[in-house]
Structure formats: C-alpha cells, structure tokens
Symmetry: C2
Subunit: 419 residues, 2 copies
C-alpha cells in the first residue's frame, strides 16, 4: 500500500524513529512513561508489557487482553499521538495485542476518553477546509479500490458488495444480508420499471445490476475505479443487462441528464465535508423535481475528526459526518429528508463476517502483499468492528425527495411486508 504521508506527519515519524533507534533494555524513564501510558488506558482490562517482557503495573481490574510493546518507538508513539501510532506500530509489528482484537479495541474505546487535543483540533479545521478535487478523488479511489479485484474477492460476498449489509435476521449469511441490503435500498426508493437512476460511486456494480435486473430500472452508474468498472461491465454483460446499465468511469460530478432516482451507497465518506453542498447541487441538477434519492454513509453521533491512521493508511481524505453535517447536502438544496435509518449494528455484523473471511485468506493476502499489509488491514477491519460496536461510528441511510415531490409512500409498512 502506498502511504499518503504529509510532510508534518513525516517529521513526527522521523523523530520517533530517531528516539527509537536508541532502544535496548527499558530504562527507568521507559518504565515511568509506561506508567503514564497505563494510566491513559484508564479502566481498560488490558495488561501492558514492555519489550523485555516486563509488565507495567496497572489499576485496571479483570484484564482480558495483553498489549505488548516491542520497541521504544511504540511506547513513545502511543504517548505522542495514540490515534496515529497505535495503527503504525501494530502494522510494523512493534505493537501486538493478545486476545480477541475487536473486543480489545472495543474495550480500549470504552475505557479511554474521546480523542481531543491539538491533533484533533487541527484535523477538524482541515476537514472543513479540504476541497477534494476530481483529480484528488481519482487518486484517493485508486489508492483503496484498485488494490485488485482478486484481493477483495478473498473476503467479500459473491456480489462483491463493500458496504454495510442488512441482516433481516441475525443469522443471515453475508450473501443473504448483502442481497437484503440491495433490495432494501430499492424498496425504500420505491423503484418502478423503466425509471432512470443515477448511481454515484457504484463499487463493483451489484446495486446497479439489482436495480436493473430485479426492478427494471435503467441505470447510469459512476465510478472512478477502473478495476471496478471493468469488473462491473463484465457482470452486466454476463447477466444480459448491458443494455439497461451503463457503467461510466468518471466522477459523479460529470453526471448529466435527468433521473427519477439518485442513489449513492458508501461514497459520501470520500466526498469531504466542504463539498457536501456541491454534491447536493449535482443531485439537484440531475434529479427530477419529483424524484427521490438515497444516501448511505458511515457517520458519527456528533462531529469528530476521522482517525488519523485511517486517513493515512486506509482512506486518504476520508471523513464521516454527523447527521447534522450530512444535512448540508440536502437543506440548502431544497430536498426534504423522508427517512433516516441507523444501521450501526448491521455494519458491526458485516465487518465480523469480513474479518472472519479475511483471517482465513491471510496466507493469500501475505503472498499478494506483505506482512505489514496483512496487519494493516486486520487492524482496519477489527477497529471498524470496535467503532460500530462502541457507537463512535454509525451508519446512516437517508431517503430524501426533490422539492416538488409528495411523500414517496404513505407509510413505511410496504418496505417490511416481505421481510
């Protein structure tokens, strides 16, 4: 994986590396810093070990996990900027967690105070100022989604849906739950045959194909990832839907024409706070006045900066909004919000499936990339489980309507008739 390193972050890393180069047996200063870190971990049921195997005494009761620091760099990193260095050190192996990783991370979330301080303040200002240009979007998408279809195929469902699934029952399989999600989106939109749909950020095309194949819609689906578009076109051809679904390798801002429904599942996270109004203007331009739309995005219970490590290693420029922040897409552009559903627990369950499949595929992932990549993605999936379980991350599915639209339907009962 390429790293989206910024100069200031580079300097931090360099100075930590410099200090770490002087490692060796833990000194009394190391043990003192270890105690400071232990106190910062609060009531988390975690035992802390330094690189010589010695334990830092802690007040926490009922320890269920071991946090092992294999270098001074890990110790200093966790003290300087834990949001960033937990991930950095886990990825390079200078930090290890023994015990169930998602559970350990959930316990850490629960026990430690919300991130705050100067890093958070800077991140917050940056999120508001950052404008993500089409070329920057292209690079961001390439960074994450062009890791190779072979990689994603190892742990996604058969339709290659890389967004929160919907579990009508807790024991539904991942395949069933992803299909249920695709259908839930169509039912919420009350899609009818021959209706025109524009989809922004279509992944490997599963939703577009479902809308066309199951609901008879005519879909134009935009995506910046060349690998995904190629795959989606193949699927459309194989399903005999190439005449109903057009996959366009372009930015959603390039959309033209008018549609009855606008849908975007899992793209808002890449749009950037500053461009929400612009997204709303694009939707307003393409959506008929009486049209409907659905935005599905990871969110937050209240505004918060994206985890610094996630921004650096997983989603460059990623930002997950609060519901009030999401409204910036709709309210200035005359859209009325009809329905919001929070699917947080469904994303935790989805990620549990993904992590389980990922762990089984680790030998293949290691052969494709390297050990650091294996650990980076394990932490990303496990940390996301923890975020959705703990509630620092939410999943909002927002149904909205154009300014001249009546209600889409009198009640929501029809959505659930077949469940």
């Amino acid at each position: 994986m390429q790293a989206g390193l910024r100069p200031s972050a580079n300097r931090l890393v360099s100075s930590a590396d410099h200090l770490a180069s002087t490692a060796g047996h833990p000194t009394s200063v190391d043990r003192l810093l270890g105690s400071v870190l232990s106190r910062a971990l609060g009531a988390a049921p975690v035992r802390l070990f330094l690189w010589d195997g010695s334990e830092i005494a802690s007040d926490a009761a009922g320890e269920r996990f071991q946090l092992r620091l294999h270098s001074r760099r890990a110790l200093l990193g966790l003290l300087i900027h834990p949001q960033l260095y937990f991930g950095e050190c886990y990825a390079d192996g200078s930090l290890d967690v023994e015990g169930d990783l998602p559970e350990a991370l959930t316990a850490l979330y629960e026990a430690t105070p919300k991130p705050h301080g100067v890093h958070v303040a800077i991140d917050r200002v940056c999120a508001h100022l950052r404008r993500i240009s089409p070329s920057r979007s292209r690079w961001n998408v390439h960074h994450h989604y062009d890791l190779g279809n072979d990689f994603y195929r190892l742990w996604l469902d058969e339709r290659m849906v890389y967004t929160c699934a919907y579990f009508p029952t807790p024991d539904a399989t991942l395949e069933e739950a992803q299909l249920a999600k695709l259908d839930l989106v169509c039912r919420k939109l009350r899609l009818r045959p021959q209706e025109r749909v524009i989809e922004a950020g279509c992944g490997w095309g599963a939703l577009a194909l479902h809308m066309a194949g199951r609901y008879g819609a005519r879909v134009r689906a935009f995506n910046l990832s060349g690998e995904q578009v190629a795959y989606a076109r193949e699927c459309a051809a194989r399903a005999g839907l190439a005449n109903r679904v057009e996959f366009v390798e372009d930015d959603y801002r390039a959309a033209t024409g008018r549609c009855d429904a606008f849908v975007s599942v899992g793209m808002l996270e890449h749009v950037g706070l500053r461009s929400y109004r612009e997204l709303g203007r694009v939707i307003r331009r393409v959506l008929k006045n009486d049209g409907r739309g659905l935005l599905h995005s990871i969110g937050r219970p209240s505004p918060a900066p994206t985890n610094a490590w996630i921004v650096r290693r997983i989603f460059p420029d990623g930002y997950t909004p609060s519901l009030a922040e999401m409204m910036e897409v709709f309210e200035p552009n005359g859209f009325a919000v009809l329905d919001v559903e929070n699917l947080r627990t469904h994303y935790a369950r989805t990620l549990e499936h993904w992590l389980e499949r990922y762990e089984r595929a680790v030998p293949q992932v290691r052969a494709m990339f390297d050990e650091s990549f294996v650990r980076t993605w394990r932490l990303y999936l496990a940390g996301s489980i923890a975020g959705f379980r703990f509630g620092s991350m939410q999943l909002f599915q927002v149904l909205f309507a154009g300014p001249a639209s009546g209600a889409v339907a009198a009640t929501r009962a029809d959505i659930y008739r077949q469940e």
Copy 2:
C-alpha cells in the same frame, strides 16, 4: 384570543391603520399598488379585487380563486409585510378568499417566492437569540392551550390528541389515526411493561395513558397547562390508571429521577432554538445511559423563520426547526439518532379532518369567542394544511438512544408486523 403584540409590530399596525383611515373609492395610486401586488402573487391562479368590487388585471392563467381586499389597509398590509398582514386582514374581515381556502393558500405558496427580506432576516436573528424562560413558557402555553377544553373538544378526536396523526390507510378515521400514532410511538420506543417513561408536554394525556394502559409503562408526564393537566388526571382516574401515570403541572426542566424512555410529542415547537442544547441536557440527566427517546416535532426542509402572523396570533415564540437544527438536541449530548420518519402528508390529512370538524362547529366557536377568533383559527388550520401539502412544513419523528445503548432492535420490521 390575546395577542402577543410586540411594540415594533404595534407601530407597523398603527401606521397601516392611519393610512387606511383615508380609504374610500380606490384611487389611481391604489390601482397601481394593486398591480404591484398582483405581480407579486406571480403565477398563482388568483383574481384580485379591490374594495369597490373592481378587478386588478393579472397575467395568471386559469384563475380558480378570488382574493377580495375590503380596505386600503389590506392592500398596504399585503405590500408591506404579507406574512403578517394576510392573517391580520383575513382575521378582521378586510380580506376574503373565495374558493377552497387550503387549496388557495397552497397555490399562493407555490406561486410566490420564499419569504425573504428584512423581516425574515430580523426574525431569523431573533429565533437564535430568544431564550424562552420557564415563566415565558408558562405564558405561551396558557395563551394557546388554555382556550378551554370545550373549544378543543369541538374539533379534536375523542382522545383529544392535538398533534399529527398517523394514517395506516388513507381512509382511516381521525380516531383510528390518532390511536395508530400513539401506538406507533410506543412500538418505535419498544416499550416494555414496568418501564419508567418521562413525557415532556403531554397535552390532554392520551399518549401517557396509552403507554400505561396498553404497554404497562409507568409514566410521569409534564405539562404547563392547568386545564389540560386537570383533564388528563380525570381521564387517568376514570381508566383506573392513576397509580401508573402521574401528571405533573410543571416545566419539563423540573423533571428528576431516571427513566428508560423519554418522549415528547409536539413540544419542541415551543422550546426555542436557543434552548435545544438545554433540552438535550435535561434528557441526558433523566434518561438512563441505555435508554431510548422519541421527539416528534413540526420541522422545515431548511432553516426558516416562523410565519410572523402565526407567532403573533397562534404560537407566541413558536419555532419549527430543520432536521440539522433538531440535531442540536442530540449531537452535543452523546445521543445517537436511530430513526427519523417524515410524516408531512399525515399532518396535512390530520389538519383536513380538524378543519372539517371545525367548520361544522363554527356556530359554537362564534358563541364562545367572536367572529375574528373564528376566522383566525380557520386561517391557521387551512394555512397549516397548505404548508404541509406544499412542503414548507414537515413533521419529523426522531428516535434516539442513550450513549451506552445498543440498537433498540435489529430492524424496523417488528414495528410494521401488525399494520
């Protein structure tokens, strides 16, 4: 009805009255001003007549309604501040609408641009600055809700529910739809027997009684209206529920103790934008960490000042928020929004029922109050129908959960199983 006149508004009225005192046969200036007004009405299918019965020529096609101005005051008022003087002049009879009143008002909404200008700007700033103290709240509530139970009984349903109903089918009766709403709220909250509920602003007590009687909950319901509380206590005694429901004649801010669920239906409109955070803090204080809550309120598609006439004559200090503005209750206080449902079309239907019953009861209303009161309330009900039909008004039902709550339920299917 007492008027919540503010000094500046008084001055405006006086100067319009002064100009109007010089009335008589329309002059060429009156006809010129009539043309200006006609143009301001845009494409609305309305014919405009002055007080001598003469018509102002208009470009609008397919006129379906007649707007008759019976005085120069009405003409000047509509030009100076239409938001305020349409209502003022309709109430005192110096303005009349011929044709279906809700339809005419909807057409006027559709044809005229959104309110803007200096009045709107001032109203907007005031909404943000206005803090509504408990004593002011008490006066506001008294102004509207203490008009007499006999008055409301004339046109509300048998349970005296004065908020948006829920129509499982479009032809449900008002009685059925209000009961369906009460039950929908309980199902969304997944109320269980013996759970403690705090209700803020309980009206005549129908929801509290339903939660206790049908779901076995123990309810403390707050209300500032002495008339309503007395009525609700009688109902509780008659239903044998006095030991499960306590009606407290006090401000919601006086709530103490801890509850499993917090519910407020149709109170947020009186809280005032500046006090949303305070409302959130009160909920946080009383709601268990794993508790659930539901707020039901009239809203807007985007932030907008309340109609000036409504604030003066119907709801002093009333403010209807956009969804983003509503989030100020939840986001700073660690609540996660689980579900938002927009019931706009249900409120239009509810108001149609109310207006129909109200028109039948006009002789009794006239005997209780006077003709100006009759016309004021007719316009308020008809204008609200128009607002909900047109979409300038929305109805948001927001389900939320405390910071330590899991999901209330895996999916929403259980809510709709019995519909």
